[in-house]
Symmetry: D2
Subunit: 299 residues, 4 copies
């Protein structure tokens, strides 16, 4: 597992037809992503509208991804729940449904009580019980909680905790995490703005919303980095910077789905209370996608 945990992984979107889960659309997307050099798929991430899915839907999505994805693609499932025991249960079921590893978000509802000690106990209990390896998931903008590098360092000694997705966007924290963890511990960048810089400080790859819509460009950033074409990698990183906010902070998952639709992906709708962007936003996103498509075609 550890040696393959690298590269670009999209937190795959969950297509809905109206409010209903559209598994066929989901499969179609996976089949198409398979052609792009992505290392694998994060199913049930924040961008997968995880919090809107019931357990049956969650397991259907993992199984559909497993069935469809090419051999060798990492199937990572977002299985973190607020309680330890629900997390343990969902992780076991996701493993049975075909997940290779699980990404476990910090439980943040009772953030005032979530000391480093409590978080560490939670992760150890989950990792002890899990039939598959576990990655930590730190995303302060959603949880209101930061997983301190010292805690990550402690947890990295657990044999079944193999990596982290850090979406803080704090590059200094990424360096701190890298320092306190063994080389084989897979550090994934979870904020698009920190992708190339993250590679420069030792990240194994990135899990990025934009990789749903422009996987080839994201893959190319890391490919160029690996071959030593730093200037070329940075150029692509810069090119991604205008799309990134449009499909995350500004227009959210609706914006991401609109961007994917521009490329012909079967993105579908979002579940309420989220909403798809209006015409002006779609135009803004379309213009940016057009610019990037020109860039992609010249890769």
């Amino acid at each position: 597992m550890r040696e393959t945990l690298q590269g670009v992984i999209p937190p795959v979107i969950t297509p809905f037809a109206g409010e209903e889960l559209d598994l066929e659309a989901f499969r179609a997307n996976v089949a198409r992503w398979d052609q792009t050099g992505l290392s694998g798929y994060l199913v049930l991430g924040s961008n997968g509208e995880n919090v809107f899915l019931d357990d049956g839907e969650k397991l259907d999505l993992v199984a559909a991804c497993r069935d469809t994805a090419a051999a060798g693609k990492i199937i990572m499932a977002g299985t973190g729940c607020e309680s330890t025991r629900a997390t343990v249960r969902l992780t076991a079921r996701a493993a049975a449904a075909g997940a290779d590893c699980a990404l476990v978000i910090t439980p943040g509802y009772y953030k005032g009580q979530m000391t480093g000690e409590r978080l560490e106990a939670h992760y150890r209990a989950v990792a002890d019980a899990a039939p598959i390896p576990i990655l930590l998931y730190n995303v302060p903008k959603f949880t209101g909680l930061n997983l301190a590098p010292a805690v990550v360092g402690n947890l990295a000694t657990h044999p079944n905790i193999v990596g982290i997705k850090d979406s803080s966007g704090d590059i200094g924290q990424l360096i701190q995490i890298r320092r306190r963890t063994p080389e084989e511990f897979a550090v994934f960048v979870g904020a698009a703005g920190a992708f190339y810089p993250g590679l420069c400080v030792g990240a194994a790859g990135a899990i990025l919303a934009v990789a749903n819509a422009v996987p080839e460009l994201c893959v190319a950033v890391q490919a160029r980095f690996r071959t030593g074409d730093l200037e070329g990698a940075l150029q692509l990183q810069r090119a991604l910077m205008d799309l990134t906010p449009l499909v995350t902070s500004v227009h959210g998952i609706g914006g991401l789905k609109a961007a994917m639709a521009y490329r012909g992906y079967a993105a579908g709708d979002v579940r309420s209370p989220l909403a798809m962007p209006g015409p002006a936003a779609r135009q803004e996103i379309g213009a940016e996608m057009e610019r990037l498509e020109a860039l992609r075609s010249r890769l």
Copy 2:
């Protein structure tokens, strides 16, 4: 419904024996609370470890509260989920299980996308579908999101939206809400520090964690206020101020359960990753409960 929506309502804790739901303990607490002058019970609130419960447990708790509580007690159920449709479904099932009304938290996971417009659409859809009246629930410290008074004012015109629990602790906001809503719209204070001040500006009552442990004192604050004994009401409010942080921000639900145990309630354990407080914290809580018990005995 509207005329009875007033008074002190505890967001009732959910007792666990280890990690298992203990319905007998829950029923015992309700039976005992029934003797204290509380107006009703909020089942499945934040203090009820809502986010740790599965749907079956949630409905069992509502039904157990309905069965046990004395006639005339309001049974309010926390049915807010992140998605509109899950909220609609759980509200219907809670109604079937015996809830009189539902308290619906602002869906906050995708907080950056939750504009006033989106929140309004969410609440209207839920209220349209609900077989029981709905109350809004604004708790920025948990959700990272504030429900603006203007949005509350709009929603208060919906015939099936009958009130709000505002836990912001912002007394100015409470006044703004009161101004923009009709008199029969029930405004509950959700922050202990704003209880008596909230009554002074027109709140119908309060939904307070501390009311689990010291219901008599909370009820007495409002009783004194109603009879015009403002000085006496304020004195009790002041007396509650040291316990409040111990059972909320400082020691959390574990602290609240420890305080209840001091009074002989069947509070049980918390689910992991929460933890019960250690000996020092218990002693601190016990000392404060002792002080308040002396006060209560002289009521």
Copy 3:
């Protein structure tokens, strides 16, 4: 001093003609405010554009206020600087210029280092040296720092620290402060939304931006409260709630000066980088002032 520290005090605005201090306009305002029942004046507060004034201007303003104000009006000067020694010096000079007491803001630039212990040492050093009594000033929205009630309680034992202006808007904190300080310690509310509620929990008065523009209404809130006309006081409090954000959070000091100009005060301009509001904002403010003027005329 202590017995007179009560009532409504405006943090008086500093009129500029273009960028130049206009002392004549300032005196004219004080003379007019003198007719309104205000208890005194806070010169050099945040609303007085304190951070834009040099030391000469500051002392001229204090002296002008002293010279103009009617006998018995409290002259309070905002003398808090980032360093202890600058605060000591300015307090001494303000006293020499005629200030009755000084309002000392928490030094917040190095907020990460400003523990309760450091703040307490700062205030003790200032109070020890000051020839006039000191009031604490807690305004988290400007300083990013909160002065904990426990620290206020400690400082209230100092013979030369006679009160506090708390602008947190946190009514629970106001109750905590009130509990931990002797009755003669003057607690002023600094957030308009907490004015009436603050009186209900024992505040001595309020220091409010809106009192620059509608002093009569603010004074009437407290007058009604004192005579036991709680309903009437609350009604006026509610009436103030729409003006308040327009002259603080929304349009800032420029908005406040526009509101004052509507009433014929010599408000003048703001210093750059602040700006006066545009026509739409002025119209919004004017409409609100018109509504309040109708109310005032019926007092």
Copy 4:
């Protein structure tokens, strides 16, 4: 000016003997720093206790730096005040005292009013009037305000605005700034954790508190980066990560002065209300300095 604006620049500390400015100590430090490969000095930065200095002290420090520093060293002065006109005046006087360029912090006291438009107007007015080039200074942790990349892009077109110090630590923002500004616009990293990553994305250099205490290591990071020894540069960057919080967020300027004293610099005391660290903190800092000294001696 533009071509020389690069490399490592310490925001130099201001030594005090007790509470008194110690210019001799200051000169001694500059003389010693002159031997270390630093590109220049930022006088009157946040780490220079700028907010504790009066105008006379400020100009004495600029002049002393000018007199002492070797030819070719950049003398940058922190001249930003809350008002536009005070900033213009201090910039002119700093230029007269020998500053080569001025670093102008975003005026943040009235942060709610500081729109991009107001900030842009402020900076244009300052830059128009300044006899020396201006750099923008963005430090959200102190000001509570972020200078958006779009605003930076607009300001970079002004002929007298030649660079920025961005202390947000947000590497994505650094990339955005770099994209929106011409190549000769000097982007300085102001957060130690983003130093090496910043160089990787096109920063001209860094202005770092730690460079006061370990200038040689900081200079070596950039030297290695320039010669293409990326692995070596990253190694040094990692080595700096434990000292950084000790001399900034944890122990503040007192911690930084203690670290400098370890190396024999004449760091002196801090002004009150800041305080020097106690014995335990000094030991922690000393241990870290010892580790880094071993590293430095092997450079």
